[in-house]
Symmetry: C2
Subunit: 183 residues, 2 copies
């Protein structure tokens, strides 16, 4: 039996400035097997970072399974509420797609598929574990300090969205219906 | 906490005949981001088959996550016992690596990493669901009939091994120690 969730792509975003992870809204993105061409996370391979320290020496070139970052309206609102800030914008998290309509979005299992109405499809590679960078951007926008940034890292556990890689190259557009198929 | 299993690559195998899925033992295989160059399952992309019918029209070119097939000594022995045949050889299953030392190998979760002593590393993409082809090869070798082939498909559920894709290109050699790191 196939388990299916009907969700929406409320916004799609890309990085206009390759020096920063902060993203900006756009109408649509085109993805290929390496992710979003021109994006700072684009590539079939990437250097292993601290997330892989139990597996590979830092800098080892490995398959890139962190091509695209997705967050949800519901998870962001939950984290904002717990932090006591008005809102958390997907831009501040460096997200590429803002999803709505999928409860506990960050807990989607590895191997879940996200099929976008405009044609592209992604594979869930698991939770995007919160780190301090987005916390600092939130603090900057919300008049908070280093404590708020640190609180984000703890509070956003299991609420900071997922990373995906591309299964079917194509387009992801703002307003797309998204069929999420669980493995 | 990292959960780790110490296992072994008892044998490595490749397909000498691209018309058949049956494999033959070799000393070592070299893998890159598409799998085993020259192998019938090699490629960054593959056409979607019946396994993807709930996702894509047959033949749609998608990312290839079924590059390498791994089975285990223990799972094969279990299936052989239940079928009442002397042994099931990894060649008959079209396997590329025969693992030992990992209990319930087929149940490894998606995202588990297999790090081979000779340098390459693989990502588990999940269970390889049994189909009739290997069942027919088993029946042929064991003096069985179509019933034995069909019994294999049922009996080998959760015992037929896993499919992997390459995370770190390099070598996989017969006799390698394999560190299996659970997500």
């Amino acid at each position: 039996m196939v388990r299916l969730i009907e969700a929406y792509a409320e916004a799609v975003l890309a990085t206009p400035d390759p020096e920063s992870f902060v993203t900006a809204r756009t109408d649509r993105i085109e993805v290929d097997l390496g992710g979003i061409p021109g994006d700072r996370h684009y590539g079939l391979m990437r250097p292993a970072d601290v997330r892989y320290k139990h597996l590979y020496p830092r800098g080892t070139m490995i398959a890139n399974r962190r091509q695209i970052s997705l967050v949800s309206v519901e998870d962001n609102a939950d984290v904002a509420g717990k932090l006591g800030v008005e809102a958390i914008m997907p831009e501040w998290l460096g997200a590429n797609v803002l999803i709505s309509g999928c409860p506990e979005f960050t807990l989607l299992p590895r191997g879940a598929r996200l099929l976008f109405e405009s044609g592209a499809s992604l594979i869930c590679e698991g939770e995007n574990e919160p780190c301090i960078g987005p916390g600092e951007v939130i603090a900057e926008h919300c008049g908070g300090d280093a404590k708020l940034a640190a609180r984000f890292v703890k509070t956003a556990q299991q609420r900071r969205g997922i990373v995906c890689s591309v299964e079917l190259p194509g387009t992801i557009a703002a307003g797309d219906k998204v069929r999420i198929v669980l493995p």
